[in-house]
Point group: C2
Chain length 393, copies 2
């Protein structure tokens, strides 16, 4: 901002400056319609890949830190349960296992135990898959399978404490989704059941509210297990069972899928699972697709996050990574699981510019130039892949 201010009246006097980068985008012609479970999303903000996969347009992120629910991506591994499960939210029941006093609790019970609110980045581990030249199978997400969300619910550690604490020797926190499983197939091949290291219990939340509203069905209502800092798949929707376990789930979604499989290999429990998110950032504006850019000052802005770690800083380049400038972190800091907005004021001359950002986390980890190649296109945090090319008239 200071740099832009320093330009003062001189810059404004040029008259030709300004950008329509924030103009509202209109839905692409021929776009697929929103599925019924998410018919209330803003169609102009979304890319509909399928009935289970909706992406937020890069130009639709805005600069307000929190992603509004009607612009948040959707990725369901199975079709959502029938909407009737929301008719009596407080009657929803969760089985707790692996604790000294195992039992089922209703959502009404859970609400009596505590209330906390946490902001987290929710991101599909395949976000950025669309940048892999190898075209891995799966949705070709670019940046929009992510958002920053406020969750409200009860800390899971409080519930575990009330139930007498963990049984001895438990190493994982395992959540099971309440989706209806298709008949005639081995449940293990399709069920949504994920395990994360038990240390995640320190931050995990059983959430019944999202961005100030009762959790919608498309996002896991009436109750979702939130594992702050972990990739989206670990945040189990319609959670019906929470177990502290000695072993990881044997469900395919845990044992073989969502693993970092080297190119050409096959998924197996010995490979790293997509757990904690890695340090990542991208630029959301200016974007050429949003209208003609005019020469002069502009505010490069985007988001940066680092899983369970604070973002230490973000550098921005306007020459494709040859030289870097420190961006400013702006807006409220919602905590280490949320993303930060960054802004860098720059003067862009007529021509083509390649804008990139590179975040560093509190532990000193910086985004790499190159993605980590893997079979399924997970964990892409390459700064080069996330570059934006803009043309200035």
């Amino acid at each position: 901002m200071l740099a832009a201010s320093a330009a003062g009246l001189g810059a404004l006097g040029l008259g030709g400056l300004g950008t329509q980068a924030h103009a509202q985008s209109s839905a692409a012609a021929g776009a697929k319609p929103l599925p019924a479970v998410a018919a209330w999303k803003d169609p102009k903000a979304m890319i509909v890949h399928s009935s289970n996969t909706l992406e937020t347009r890069r130009a639709a992120f805005g600069t307000s830190v929190v992603t509004p629910t009607n612009r948040l991506f959707v990725r369901n591994n199975l079709p959502a349960p029938d909407a009737s499960i929301l008719e009596h939210r407080d009657a929803w029941t969760v089985a707790f296992e692996g604790v000294k006093g195992p039992r089922s609790l209703t959502l009404a019970d859970l609400k009596t135990l505590g209330v906390e609110t946490v902001a987290t980045v929710l991101q599909c581990s395949g976000n950025g898959r669309g940048f892999f030249p190898s075209k891995p199978s799966g949705t070709p997400w670019q940046v929009g399978a992510a958002g920053c969300v406020l969750w409200s619910g009860v800390p899971l550690r409080t519930v575990i404490h009330v139930l007498g604490g963990a049984e001895e020797g438990m190493a994982y926190l395992t959540g099971t989704g309440g989706e209806k499983l298709p008949e005639g197939v081995d449940p293990l091949t399709v069920m949504v059941e994920r395990s994360v290291p038990i240390k995640a219990l320190d931050d995990a939340l059983l959430a019944w509210e999202m961005n100030g509203e009762p959790l919608p069905l498309a996002h896991g209502g009436p109750l979702r297990l939130i594992v702050p800092g972990y990739q989206g798949v670990n945040n189990v929707k319609y959670v019906k069972r929470v177990a502290l376990t000695r072993e990881q789930s044997r469900a395919g979604i845990m044992a073989n899928r969502y693993r970092m499989v080297p190119p050409g290999g096959k998924g197996n429990p010995g490979l790293p699972s997509v757990w904690e998110m890695v340090v990542k950032s991208w630029i959301n504006g200016p974007l050429s697709e949003e209208g003609a850019l005019r020469a002069g000052w502009t505010q490069i802005h985007g988001v940066a996050f680092a899983g369970t770690r604070e973002v230490r800083g973000v550098e921005v380049s306007i020459d494709g990574g040859m030289s870097w400038h420190q961006a400013q972190l702006v807006g409220p800091n919602l905590g280490r699981f949320a993303w930060r907005q960054f802004v860098l004021p720059v003067q862009l001359s007529a021509g083509t510019h390649v804008l990139v950002s590179r975040a560093t986390d509190a532990a000193g980890n910086a985004q790499p130039r190159e993605r980590v190649e893997n079979n399924s296109g997970y964990n892409n945090n390459s700064w080069l892949d996330h570059a934006v090319t803009v043309t200035v008239a």
Copy 2:
């Protein structure tokens, strides 16, 4: 939470515990329909007083710190301009006066100068008017003419700096709304033009985005002057002129209305205007209207704010103010202009309980027991008026 946890399995073993306090409320029978300008609001969350005055239901605030836009109150002094003003948002023009280089800037120009995001409590100065036994004229708001909102735009001080800074001797920041004025009346009697002390320039924002979306018409889009910590009326919608001025505006809305007029008196420029908000809090749950409450543990929760000051703490009483307990502030701290959530776990026995909260700000100001009587029902921060009576079965 610790208190609830300490109850442990014993409390849960009682079986009868739980509350439906968070159940979704349904629209009251015979409720007025939402006006066209806000037809996209959640009808279950709103009380429609008139086409220009919509209130958030007390039970609809949730516990996620930020108020979702589709649940935020609306209060317009004049009908909103035609929606066509949003067709070319970036072409919206604002005249800047009282600076060394006065000129008009478009929204596109403003976007080149800076981006910042601020969370503020937006509250109508008449919020709580409905608790005045004197029944002042005006909307009888209870608690729902308020919300906590994320605004994104350019700091006004940056714009003023770019325009050469303030002219000598300016004492007020004056904003003028772009509403269409009815014909045949003196414009001064109806126009929306408000002045605040020039010190507000340090924090003021020209905002084009709200909660992550382009600012809707009902809330002042395409551009609104945000004066963090000041009552809602000072946050001028559709702002078309920003002037640093020696004197306060002579418009009726500034000179005579929105003044703290003693009972029976008349408004005049010598009386205090509704500028900075005063320290205030209220409880949003549990509420008896949301369903039967059962004896046992419950989480009393609500919001607290203090204008331009941080909230230092909140006390809660379950006996109508005879004894007090320190509540816990939970959730992200969005900065001193936002509200904080507070939570107190308590055990409620069968019977009737009067729940009240009392906030204290960083300067040591605490909410008073009694409201300050005034003709128009402004600035009500009486903790007694905001009490909630609950019946436990």
